[in-house]
C-alpha cells in the first residue's frame, strides 16, 4: 500500500506536464496587473488569494476600464462558476475529511488539479482512493507555487517592459487556448458562439456588464440546444 508521501509525490508528478502551459499564463497575469496600475504587493495578493488566471485577467481588464467593484466581483464569480461544478464533482471524495482539511483543499481547486485528481478517483481503481486527498494536495501545492512564482516573474518584468508593446493582447490569446477544449460538441459550440456575439454587442452596456451578459446568454443557448430532441451529439 502506498504511503502518504508516495501519493503526494504522485500528485506532484501528475501535474508536472501541465506547468509549461501555466507558467506563461502566470507571467502574463503578473505583467498585466502591474500594467493596469496595481502595486507589486497588490498584484501578488491578487494571484495569492484568487489563484485563478482567467478571472484575474478579466478583473484587471475591468479595473483598467474603470468598472465599479460590484461589477468586477460579479464578473469574477461568472468566470469562476466552473469551480462550483468541480466542487460538486470532487465533494464525495472529500467527505471523510474534517473541516480543517476541506477548507484549505477547496482553496487549491483549479482546472488542472481537478482534472488530474478526478481522473485518479474515478479510474485509479482501489489504489486511487488510498490517501486520495494527498494526491490532490501534491498537485495543488505544485500548481500554487508555480502560479505565484510565475506571477512574481511577471511583476518583476513588468517594471522594465515598455508600455507600447500591446501586451494586453496576450489576454485574449490565453483565453483562446482555454476555449478550444471547451468546444466539445454542438451545444458547447452554440454556447460559445452566443457568448461571444452577445458579449460583443453588449460591450457598450452601462456598468461593463458585457462579459456577464454574454456568458449568461451563452449558457442559456447551450442548455436550449442540448434539449432539442434528435440533436444530441
Amino acid at each position: 500500500m502506498a504511503t502518504r508521501r508516495e501519493v503526494f509525490g504522485a500528485g506532484v508528478t501528475a501535474v508536472l506536464p501541465m506547468l509549461p502551459g501555466i507558467a506563461p499564463f502566470g507571467v502574463i497575469a503578473g505583467l498585466t496587473a502591474v500594467g493596469t496600475g496595481l502595486s507589486a504587493a497588490q498584484a501578488m495578493l491578487l494571484s495569492g488569494l484568487v489563484f485563478a488566471g482567467a478571472s484575474q485577467l478579466a478583473m484587471l481588464q475591468l479595473l483598467a476600464e474603470g468598472a465599479i467593484p460590484a461589477v468586477i466581483l460579479l464578473t469574477v464569480i461568472t468566470v469562476n462558476l466552473r469551480f462550483a461544478m468541480y466542487s460538486a464533482s470532487l465533494a464525495p471524495h472529500f467527505q471523510h475529511l474534517g473541516r480543517s482539511w476541506r477548507l484549505p483543499l477547496a482553496y487549491l481547486l483549479v482546472d488542472q488539479n481537478y482534472a488530474s485528481s478526478i481522473n485518479r478517483y474515478l479510474h485509479g481503481g482501489p489504489e486511487g482512493a488510498v490517501h486520495g486527498h494527498w494526491f490532490y494536495l501534491g498537485g495543488g501545492v505544485t500548481l500554487w507555487l508555480t502560479w505565484q512564482t510565475a506571477t512574481a516573474v511577471g511583476v518583476f518584468m513588468g517594471a522594465s517592459i515598455p508600455r507600447d508593446l500591446s501586451l494586453e493582447f496576450a489576454i485574449p490569446l490565453v483565453f483562446m487556448v482555454l476555449l478550444v477544449p471547451a468546444l466539445r460538441d454542438r451545444a458547447h459550440i452554440i454556447a460559445a458562439l452566443t457568448g461571444g456575439v452577445v458579449a460583443t454587442v453588449a460591450a457598450d452596456m452601462p456598468l461593463h456588464l458585457g462579459i456577464v451578459t454574454g456568458a449568461g446568454s451563452g449558457i442559456v443557448a447551450g442548455m436550449l440546444c442540448d434539449r432539442q430532441p434528435g440533436r444530441r451529439p
Binding site: 509549461p20 501555466i22 502574463i28 496595481l38 495578493l45 491578487l46 495569492g48 488569494l49 489563484f51 478579466a58 478583473m59 479595473l63 467593484p69 468586477i72 466581483l73 464569480i77 461568472t78 468566470v79 462558476l81 469551480f83 462550483a84 461544478m85 468541480y86 466542487s87 460538486a88 470532487l90 465533494a91 467527505q95 476541506r102 477548507l103 483543499l105 477547496a106 482553496y107 481547486l109 508593446l165 500591446s166 493582447f169 496576450a170 489576454i171 485574449p172 490569446l173 490565453v174 483565453f175 483562446m176 487556448v177 476555449l179 471547451a182 468546444l183 454556447a191 458562439l193 457568448g195 456575439v197 458579449a199 460583443t200 462579459i211 454574454g214 456568458a215 451563452g218 449558457i219 447551450g222
Partner: protein
C-alpha cells in the same frame, strides 16, 4: 477607485472564488446539486471564454471592426488556428503577439 477600495476588491474576489470552490465540497452532505444548475454549469467554460475572446478581437476603438484595418482581428485569427491545433499557451502567445507586432510594423 481609491486604494482602499482596490485592496477590498482584491480580497473580495479571493473570498468569492474560494466560496465557489468550497460550495459543494462543504454542503454535499445535506444539499444535492440541482439538475438544472448541473446542466448550466457545463456550459460555463465555453460561454465565458468566448465572451472574453470575441470582443477583444472584433472591437477596435470602441466599435465592431471586421475590416483588415483591425490588426488584432488578423493576428487573433492566426493565433486561434494555432490554439486550435496545438492547444499550447506558449506557442499561441508567440504567434499571436509576433503577428500583431509584425502587422503594426508594416502598417
Amino acid at each position: 477607485m481609491s486604494e482602499t477600495t482596490l485592496w477590498l476588491t482584491i480580497v473580495g474576489a479571493g473570498l468569492c472564488t474560494w466560496l465557489l470552490r468550497l460550495s459543494f465540497i462543504e454542503t454535499w452532505r445535506w444539499l444535492s446539486v440541482p439538475p438544472l444548475l448541473d446542466r448550466a454549469l457545463r456550459y460555463v467554460p465555453a460561454a465565458v471564454m468566448a465572451a472574453l475572446v470575441v470582443p477583444a478581437l472584433v472591437r477596435m476603438d470602441g466599435a465592431v471592426n471586421l475590416s483588415p484595418d483591425n490588426l488584432r482581428l488578423l493576428a487573433g485569427l492566426l493565433a486561434a488556428a494555432v490554439a486550435w491545433y496545438s492547444r499550447n499557451v506558449l506557442l499561441t502567445l508567440a504567434v499571436g503577439m509576433g503577428a500583431l507586432w509584425a502587422l503594426q510594423a508594416v502598417t
